[in-house]
Symmetry: C2
Subunit: 317 residues, 2 copies
């Protein structure tokens, strides 16, 4: 499934970012079924889990097992989150292709999310890079930093572009391969997206600028992806059914809805390599495994337009 | 409220297109309260109703009264829909600023929507233009055609750009001041939007190309508005709470959500002239008047980002 011609890569982060804020705790069997179906649909990369204490985050109760399961799938790029050196070491033992460390641009969010200042987190990142340098060739991984709250912070409000660049450059100097400005709380707008990425390309380099990560909290997720695509971003983090909503803001949906973004690109003639019907078949797996959670997404409800390649018939007919 | 500096015009079409497909029939008092609050929020133009038989469309039971009410408001541009000469004559008696006639680009949709072929509808349009020519100066109105199903049709599937242009030119020749390609069923994608408007500007002229009218049926409404804005469109039809969903496709939301689009533009620094807090105050009026209808929109649930001018505090904090 990894030989598809693609113009963009849709990275399904649902089993990590989506489940992190879900009401229900998904079973290992359901996560595996989701991974299998996503792979069958042609997703090139999955961010499968986070290496944090299951005491702090019960949804991540089975990260080693899920990582092993995904890593065994031929041709799939497997990404995991790790908030510190210990998490990265635990993760590396399961040989994912990529480890993402979240470091918030906003100081307050960084302290509450990973209990470190951004500067302390960069030192932890440096320790991860040094740890990686000592690993055999087969155990190497890509080291990415998710620059959380890059587009705004629920605690501090606006975040300056200069702060994104300063932290990003520190991370690259400390050993990160890529840094990805992330809209953790759904504050971004398309003009800001265009401006921030242009600056990142200049200051980090195009290859060093990671994929887009927007939340749809205020309804602009898809429009922000469009702006990012237009400026040259080729990789997009999304979650099936738009999971990832904040439990304290009912109705405030989470990650960009995978189904709707895949539809947008395919309708535009931008190839994702994803089979829409097979992607839609992920949805019942999620619905059954998370009966209490709100599932988002318009395409799933409305169906594909009549005449669209994907083969579904519009429900509204 | 009409002296605000605006970069774009958000045209609230909720009391027309939004209510047309609602489950509930909104009372006249609630419609007036909605109009009042929208005016207080600074909306420059409202499409208030449709002059069709209330037997066919019970939601439009009070179109003459609502039009009279809106027309009496100083500085407000009042637009109404009329599907034929008789509707336009009935509407004109109430002196709206604009009458919009819907003519579908797709032949099948045109026949089922207004019971005429597009060519027959153009002759009706010509009769409306002639009728208008005989009116005194004070009773003149702008005559716009909504080119329905321009971006695709639930009955015929894809619609060709050539067909949009052919019908649009016929309408302009028959006496329309503006023609507006409309995405009646939520089939449009941003690449198509860019391509279609570029062609319309060339073939109709920029001034003759009417505002954007997208539905959010497949989640791309806001992204399509962004694409339209980027290519030069300055006027956008939207509905508060995203009303207008199709009763046969549960969850398939309707018009672009006014609140979310206003937020996008304001966050981008594109001035709408709309006060966000006052706009949000429309929502309880709608919720109370339509208890059975699904209300959409992310901004209303999540609140404004911390630090945003609008003054609300993010609910997620």
């Amino acid at each position: 499934m990894n030989n598809q011609i693609r113009d963009v890569e849709i990275v399904e982060v649902g089993t990590r970012d989506g489940l992190q804020n879900a009401k229900g705790v998904m079973s290992t069997a359901a996560k595996k079924a989701w991974v299998d179906q996503a792979v069958a649909a042609g997703f090139p990369e999955l961010e499968v889990c986070s290496f944090v204490s299951p005491k702090l985050m019960p949804a991540m109760h089975d990260s080693p097992e899920i990582t092993d399961y995904a890593v065994a799938i031929d041709g799939l790029t497997v990404s995991v989150l790790a908030p510190n050196l210990r998490g990265a070491q635990n993760a590396a033992a399961h040989r994912p292709d990529k480890i993402v460390m979240p470091i918030s641009v906003s100081r307050s969010h960084c302290l509450s999310n990973i209990r470190k200042t951004p500067e302390e987190a960069v030192e932890d990142l440096r320790a991860i890079a040094e740890f990686r340098a000592g690993l055999p060739a087969d155990d190497q991984f890509i080291l990415e930093v998710g620059l959380s709250t890059a587009f705004g912070c629920t605690m501090e409000g606006q975040v300056s572009d200069d702060d994104i660049i300063r932290l990003g450059l520190m991370c690259l100097e400390a050993g990160a391969d890529e840094v990805a400005p992330s809209d953790t709380v759904g504050y971004a707008n398309p003009a800001q997206v265009t401006r921030v990425y242009k600056r990142c390309f200049e200051e980090f380099g195009v290859k060093q600028t990671g994929g887009a990560h927007f939340h749809n909290t205020r309804g602009l997720g898809i429009a922000n992806c469009l702006a990012a695509f237009e400026v040259g971003i080729k990789s997009f983090d999304t979650s099936l059914a738009g999971l990832g909503g904040c439990p304290f803001a009912p109705g405030a949906s989470g990650n960009v809805v995978t189904e709707d973004l895949v539809f947008m690109f395919e309708a535009m003639g931008v190839r994702t390599g994803i089979d829409i019907d097979a992607m839609m078949a992920c949805r019942p797996i999620i619905a059954e495994a998370l009966p209490e959670d709100m599932l988002y997404g318009h395409l799933y409800e409305a169906g594909l337009p009549k005449g669209h390649d994907g083969g579904l018939v519009a429900a509204a007919e």
